[in-house]
Symmetry: D2
Subunit: 306 residues, 4 copies
């Protein structure tokens, strides 16, 4: 798109959120532009205000993942080109000189609070928790002297000149949150051998076999799903779409044939991108489903057809 | 549980949220207790502080639905006994005497903002939007004179003594948000003929056919799914559970046999309840899957076995 | 094959059988060569002795259909190019001057006897039945004065100079027997819109899902099966192949993709031909499985891949 | 049935066939009654003339297996209680004093001829082959001096006072033929842990998913099929039934639930028996499908239902 400044990236803001921290892990240069909501960030991409935007996509601590799914499913087409995984691990931030035992009020986002409830009960049992619209807002309010401490992304310390009073704050070990970088539609990044593909399938009709048929199109071709979420389409009772992540790249024969099959049997299919997996896990390729197998079978079929 | 005051219900607060409005539609008497998070509300049920709690469960405008799913899937067992559907429709609230054209600042929750972006751009193009941790917080800040107006649940007007400057505020017609009433485990409410059942299935092993097998257990018995969401279990790479809603009641033969089958083939299954559908839609019962069909087939089998 | 006399066709003999009658319905000129067994007839094709051979293939009144299936599955490759359906309807044949009430001995093939038992009991209760290796042999023995009458194909009357004492002899109305014309491998006849395709699939491994996977490859692409028979392969315990007829032609996109899929996931697949259905019944093409749907989906996929 | 002489068994005759040999392996006492056809033998059971009858059922060298399947599927109900496997191995029989090199004419049944063609070409290239309605008839004609030798079941030597000129006559190693003992309906024999169950399922409607649904009922419960054959029902175009053998016994929970499911979703199901496998191979029981798993799941379901 002419006029889009290259290297200008949007993210779910404000500055100091986990999404900004995630963006820094993949784009350490360029301009990073906070948006007030996922929808606003995606519209920023659509409008050419930014080249791409990073948004929370699964298991998020901030932002509405269902809303992100729906916007990508039904708004003007966009495409995912990259994913980022971040451990769900907060920091307790305070102004310089604050001792942990002096903390009486802790600001944080409701989702973050939910993930640190036991920690707060154990470590700061006497503190009262105040909710903020984002973990970054919480940090800002601490900087402004409104509250004593914030449960925020560690990156917020730097933004708001705060000190880390505790790190690795969370109730559950091993949780990660996943972000995706969304740009305008185009050719997907080249396959790496450890890719993921995201699509939204709108089923034509709701009946006990409809979802099964959809998943069978993947399974019969040896394509493993890594996420599935049904979403009401708003087109009326019993009308659903399915937001699905599968292993592999649209350039893989098995993935391509599965997507084509969805395209044939579904009311609509929206391709949301093929991109490298952040965890670099290569799929187990079932016997008979490698590209070579598809090539050999196609050659055999050509011979049969004469 | 001894000592639990009957008629004391929790909800995702604060007062004036959509969840409170939803709770009012089913419990017009008794005490309604706001909790700061879904997790806190559910713990309030577990601890016997409240009899049950209403939480957002699907397509919510506030609160983290993924976190609710995870808490119900892996926390101490609870059970859903009822569901509520509310249209996603906000009100613009201001102090008495405020004219819509005087509104310069609008407070709201990020999810609500995302759902009213076009409305705000059309109707209040010059107003600046400020984010709050809940739509009720937004209303309170208007009452306190901090901002001119709030995008909130209509119920907040009453709580905070505000005036409705505009109603039916939303970008998409027909969207609804779904809440569930969660109590301690017990016998499910009696079947009504239009019921829903919620379960969480933990697959034993991740491979291309695992999810398909799970869904086949439902489909082969004519049980339609109305929601499915995969959730990482935190037990390591490629370990998922599936949170599923299906049509019908655990007392129905087809649903019972399907759940038993899941129980046999999954690593674990958690039953989260059978309860009346808020929309009272009765399922289409496929040929051969009614209770009478199961009874007749069981009698036939008994005769074969001699 | 050089030297094969065109228009020379084999069939399961001897002259005067149903198979000869079936051959006459499709090849009224040329030379018709009887073979003593299906295996001999097929070897006649392989050796270039005949251009093609007609053999019973389903629901036969003479000849071993299982043996035919096995020979086609594991012998040197051959290809079906045509099918013929004949009603299962016999004639009672006698020498000129024989009255039906004078018949004391009736010769016939065991399969024919099985299909006329009630008729014989009703019409010729006093006659004794003598078994012959074919219905044509039965007729010949009548001509030779050995027995009074034969239950044979009507065509045998002409061959052996016999008179029809009764026609439409059979116990069950509507039964048909199916024959296939088998030639050397080559380009299949052009699609007619009402075709059938025959393949043999050797599964790689015997487990509860193996056959299901095989059939899923057809079903998921909307290809209906019209015959399936498992056959032990003789390669050891639990080793099977499946002889399958499906609707459609290898040139159809849905059939071609299904066959390619079998080729990928099975230990071996043998294509036995695509040919016009004798009953000219066109398949019901499920939504999304017509050639145009495949073409449109392939074009869409090409666009995605960039 | 009153008046049926115990220990009186029918078989597909005449005396000296493979079926008689098979019957001797399981019933060495009692009276053995030959019938001229499978249909006659089965009617002998229905009429109370014999207690049970042994008939060829799969891969037979004599008799029409398809006709047997159809008779069992649609005639008055009968039940299989036992199976017998015999290797497909013939003997060359001659009168005493005949030398193999003097054999000029060989009589045999067409199916037997098909299975010994290479052997005949190698060992008796100059002999001419004459077809008989059964391998026992062939032996009798040799005894009567009509032909020099017969390819028959070894048991025929004893019946007709013939000498074995060659044994182990066959083209393919390892082929077996399978017989079933059929009686009147009753309680199946007790499970042995290595059983087989035979049923006929009449599908309600012919469409691409009908057969798949039927097989899914087995697969989803971990029940492996060991034979499947589609048969036209004669009820009109596109109307099929499926004759199926599966591993396990109707008393097994997984088999019982699968049969019940067929009963619910099919137009009709005919149970043809559960009986010990002749090869004594116990099934691999998939995780979650043992009787204990069904019991535990049923107990869990009972608890859920309260």
């Amino acid at each position: 798109m002419p006029g889009v400044p290259p290297g200008r990236y949007g993210y779910l803001g404000p500055a100091g959120t986990f999404t900004e921290a995630a963006l820094r892990t993949i784009r350490d240069r360029g301009e990073h532009v906070p948006f007030a909501s996922v929808a606003a960030a995606l519209d920023g991409v659509r409008d050419g205000d930014v080249e791409a935007a990073l948004i929370p996509f699964e298991n998020s601590v901030e932002g509405s993942v269902p809303a992100a799914l729906d916007d990508l499913a039904t708004g003007d087409p966009l495409q995912i080109t990259r994913e980022v995984l971040l451990p769900v691990s907060f920091a307790l931030l305070g102004r310089t000189g604050t001792a942990r035992e002096d903390v009486r009020t802790v600001a944080t986002h409701p989702h973050a609070q939910a993930q640190c409830r036991r920690w707060l009960a154990d470590v700061l049992p006497a503190a009262s928790v105040v909710l903020s619209p984002s973990t970054a807002d919480a940090a800002r309010s601490v900087r402004d002297g409104v509250y004593d401490a914030a449960i925020s992304a560690p990156v917020a310390a730097e933004h708001y000149g705060l000190q880390v009073l505790a790190k690795d704050v969370h109730d559950t070990d091993g949780a990660v949150t996943r972000f995706v970088l969304v740009g305008r539609p185009g050719q997907p990044p080249a396959p790496t051998g450890a890719d993921r593909t995201t699509v939204v399938a709108f089923i034509a009709e709701d009946h006990p076999g409809a979802l099964l048929q959809l998943l069978t199109e993947f399974a019969v071709r040896g394509v493993n799903l890594t996420r599935i979420e049904s979403r009401p389409t708003g087109r009326g009772l019993g009308s659903y779409c399915f937001s699905v992540d599968c292993e592999g790249h649209v350039a893989d024969a098995r993935v391509g044939e599965a997507l084509s099959a969805l395209r044939r049997v579904c009311a609509d299919v929206r391709f949301l991108g093929s991109y490298p997996r952040a965890d670099a896990v290569a799929p187990a390729v079932a016997p008979g489903t490698a590209d070579d197998d598809f090539r050999a079978a196609a050659a055999w079929l050509d011979r049969l057809r004469g």
